[in-house]
Symmetry: C2
Subunit: 612 residues, 2 copies
């Protein structure tokens, strides 16, 4: 009855189960795939420019002009990585995430490092994207900024539930926002550039220009470059999700990658240029994109459209991680580096366990960092560039090993990608270490240790359970014990259960713990008529405990034979109403708790359905 109610609740929240026949239709078209997988890299433009400016402003407003060459450098890096990844998706049509590529080409430990990095990053994708999405809302409506953390958590919960309903629906629902965002941002850039050229815009409002605290040096520029590299986050997700695309998977994935790269670079450079041109100073209540949009469109409907589009794509980016985190953790779990339950699929074709884990960790991060994008971002890019490096390094090894047509050229492409991302990785780790990157540097090796420990345990258990060399099980002696406190129809049912179930070699005993000799006499009288011939063992209790004599009796029985199996049959009432559970079965619960995880002891509850 409790079970039925839970199942009903689950049905309402996550929808009916889906059959395997529906699985084929879950494959995504290019148009939908761009919306689902490319939303993550595309949405990064909502915060990447701001991250560059937040570093440069440390040297005063004059230094903000360095944002242009830095942005061009980042766009070049993005182009290199996209080029490199087109090779990866071609080589791995079944899904070419950094874990699989590293495992295939670099071996066990690099692949586990990649898995740790990417799993961490999916959590950060959710946390960062949701935080940035909520920041777009609070930029438009500063009065609700104090509810930021609550809004973030609510968003994660909503996305998690949407994903428990299944991927295809998620894809269909979320197609529109991606294109809505791209169109909004491109329109803002196009109109902004035109308007500023022809002098159509009103005077810029006054913004305080903070004085520079540092000089412009190579370290500051490196930090700004590293901060802007958050624009590259999410590229991996296309490679990871190749298998979810319609056939031909690799060609479609390449097209999605290139389209994503082109749009991403255009938007990123456009936003950075307008920020420079408008003299936008980062910080305060609004995001940089919000400031640009206000400048271009004033405070009207179009401004709110841009903010809405930004929020939607960022929530969709968070959703990307929901498509990939469970998929990757199931792959890792099938390799026995994560608990087995992550490998199994839920009622629907989504991996519920992973979805729940991902939501939980993302909420934890949002609570720890008060839903603040700027403090979360330093943790983010490290894992991204670590997996880039491993993945592309793996591709280099692959080309060297397999030597396919054009392998020298391929090595150049993948090698350039691996090298540049490695340089960025080192820069990121050095420049952002004290800002939170150290957390990732601690977490990833810890995850690898967890993976290895889990794997070793499963290996040992598999060896222990293997039937190879098995001599056959030892012979078992059996006793069924039925602890009783009285004799009534429920007990008779349990006695009958035991009697009709058990074979002739199985001893059956009803066990009664005596607290009052007068009651024992009454019980023994009834036993003659209704005991069904089962012997009644009366245990005396020096303590008034009911449990201790029973446990002592079981100990005594089991100390005789080496493999004496005791099945304890506990009569249990099923009352009609939930609150009546509190009035029954307390003793049964105590017995079950005491015998839980006890060797050679099995507890079986025999239910008795009450009419009242």
């Amino acid at each position: 009855m409790g079970g039925v109610r839970v199942a009903y609740l689950k049905r309402v929240l996550v929808g009916p189960p889906m059959s395997l026949a529906q699985a084929k239709h879950e494959r995504l078209s290019k148009r939908v795939a761009l919306a689902v997988f490319a939303s993550d890299p595309l949405s990064s433009v909502a915060y990447a420019t701001e991250q560059i400016l937040l570093v440069l402003i440390l040297a005063g407003t004059v230094a903000l002009s360095y944002s242009l060459p830095i942005a061009v450098g980042i766009a070049a890096l993005l182009a290199i990585v996209v080029m490199s990844y087109t090779q990866t998706v071609a080589a791995y049509p079944q899904g070419g995430g950094a874990y699989l590529v590293s495992k295939d080409n670099l071996g066990k430990y690099p692949s586990l490092v990649a898995a740790g990095a990417i799993l961490t990053d999916y959590v950060l994708t959710v946390a960062v994207s949701v935080a940035a999405g909520i920041a777009a809302i609070t930029s438009a409506f500063p009065t609700i900024a104090r509810h930021r953390v609550l809004l973030c958590v609510a968003a994660v919960v909503a996305i998690g539930l949407a994903n428990l309903r299944g991927l295809r629906e998620s894809g269909r629902i979320f197609t529109i926002p991606t294109y809505f965002f791209v169109v909004s941002i491109l329109a803002m850039i196009g109109y902004g550039m035109t308007a500023t050229t022809f002098g159509w815009l009103a005077e810029a409002p006054y913004e305080p220009h903070p004085p520079g605290l540092e000089g412009v040096g190579i370290f500051l520029l490196l930090r700004a470059y590293a901060a802007g590299c958050t624009a590259l986050t999410g590229v991996e997700s296309v490679a990871d999700g190749v298998a979810a695309l319609k056939a031909p998977e690799s060609r479609n994935a390449q097209k999605v990658l290139i389209a994503m790269g082109a749009i991403s670079i255009t938007m990123f450079l456009g936003i950075t240029y307008l920020a420079y041109d408008f003299g936008i100073v980062p910080g305060g209540e609004q995001t940089v994109v919000s400031k640009i949009a206000r400048r271009v469109f004033g405070g009207g409907v179009l401004y709110y459209t841009v903010q809405a589009a930004t929020t939607l794509i960022l929530l969709l980016a968070a959703n990307t991680a929901y498509a990939d985190f469970p998929r990757l953790s199931s792959i890792v779990a099938r390799d026995r580096y994560l608990p087995r339950q992550f490998a199994s699929q839920g009622d629907r074709l989504v991996f519920s366990n992973g979805i729940v884990m991902l939501s939980a960790f993302a909420i934890l991060l949002l609570l720890l960092f008060s839903g603040d994008t700027d403090t979360l971002l330093p943790l983010y890019a490290i894992g991204v560039f670590l997996s880039f490096t491993l993945s592309q390094g793996g591709m280099v090894r692959r080309w060297m090993r397999l030597k396919p047509a054009g392998w020298r050229w391929r090595i150049w492409v993948s090698g350039a990608g691996a090298l540049t991302t490695f340089v960025v990785l080192v820069t990121l780790t050095v420049t952002k270490f004290s800002e939170g990157a150290w957390i990732v540097v601690v977490v990833i090796p810890a995850l690898v240790a967890v993976f290895v420990t889990i794997h070793r345990h499963y290996d040992e258990v598999a060896h222990e359970l293997s039937l190879t060399g098995f001599e056959g099980p030892p012979t078992l002696q059996h006793t069924i014990l039925i602890p009783i406190g009285d004799l009534h129809r429920g007990v008779v049912r349990a006695l009958q259960y035991a009697k009709t179930l058990a074979g002739p070699d199985v001893a059956i005993r009803a066990v009664y713990v005596e607290t009052d000799p007068a009651r024992t006499t009454r019980l023994e009288e009834k036993w003659g008529q209704w005991g069904l011939g089962v012997p009644l063992v009366v245990l005396t209790s020096p303590y008034r405990s009911l449990l201790r004599p029973l446990l002592d009796y079981i100990d005594a029985l089991q100390s005789r034979g080496s493999d004496h199996m005791i099945t304890v049959v506990v009569p249990e009432f099923l009352p009609r109403r939930w609150w009546q559970h509190m009035l029954h079965n307390q003793t049964a619960l105590v017995i079950k708790a005491a015998l839980l995880f006890r060797r050679n002891t099995v507890v079986a509850d025999v239910p008795y359905l009450l009419k009242h």
Copy 2:
């Protein structure tokens, strides 16, 4: 293993179990009984005077002098009630609480009202006494007043744990504080009166004299009288605990009652007189007793001694409820008006369930009322006077029925007690209704409704389970199902368990849910060698769910016969380390959860001990 650890923790916290042989020694001597049971009424003097003054001050400081006649009136009432109760304890040497006396003489509903009133009051005794005890500390050290609620909760938790360790130890530990309090207060009164007579005391510090907001009228005086009646709380506890005293129980209880009454009246009148004589104005950071003690002893060691003694006796008063609440709830539970588990005794000769309940409700009240004595007290006295009235009314009925020697005189004594307490009860309800007394007026009938509902359910179930007219159980068909995901030593053990346990008429089936036909083929090959001849049922899953096909299969089997018992044998691993539990048994857990409380379905876990 989990069970062992819990048992160990319990042992450390609440001590080793106690044998029945020790039970006799738990009986209390008069000296100890006075400390344990009379601490509650004695401690009431710590707040009763203050409650009178807090009402009178509403009419200005001039009205404070009315405290003297009011206190004399209350002392007279206390004397009447004590006299009346000496008859009760003589008539009920097995324990003469209002519940038993009402049940015996007035019938079911009055006894349930009494039970509801007294159980509510025990909770309030804990809450009020702890709040007042902490107030004595914060009077001495006003800087910690802001931690009041925390201190109150910590005190309740400490007392609760002490009681889980057993009554006798509690009695021994707490003997000293009662006498310490009595001596301290009497010394304060004696020295205070002497010193003020001979003019030894320093000038009184200035206290602001608030202007009167109300005139002195009969209603104000009634309210003040009702407020002071909190001095009578706790008298019931001696009558309730008679059975815990050494033989002759009744005589000893009478002596304890009279001693308690005499000491209580002396202290109450003394404190009220000094408060009047010193012109003490109630309110502010200090209690009235604290102000008197400061005036008498200055701020030195003797002052702190009085405060310490006050705190200790109030905590001991809270402890009284711990001796009585579980005792009464076990009596009520044995009459089947409360859940059965309240009737049972824990590992030690205390009723753990009641102790835990009492602490939980007291903590709830302390949190709701921010640990403030003055706002808790209006709730308190209603239940006390309700049970006084019922108990003494019951005694009147008893004398009328049994007509023992001197029954006319006895009716006069009990009748006077019943009448006066009834008048106070009505006064209390009227004057304190809006201050919180309405809560008690709602809670007591609600409790009576709960008692009656529980009783009716147990009656119906007893009737349903009765063997009278039982035709004998219907014949049972049996099937044992063993859901498996693979074939290994753990599964072989489960198969062997089922085979050697089951009789010849029991069908045994291993059930495998197919997700990949290739795996099925491999399983079937192994099955020939290690399946122990158990038929293997392969279920296909249209959904990738493992659970649904199993449930459908069980449904199909059970739809055939009317009483088809299915025992689902689930192989379960017992790993060596706690964290490894997370790596196993998830499927077993899901199956168990789905079959919990299902009719005619028994789940049996067969444990397999892992070496790794």
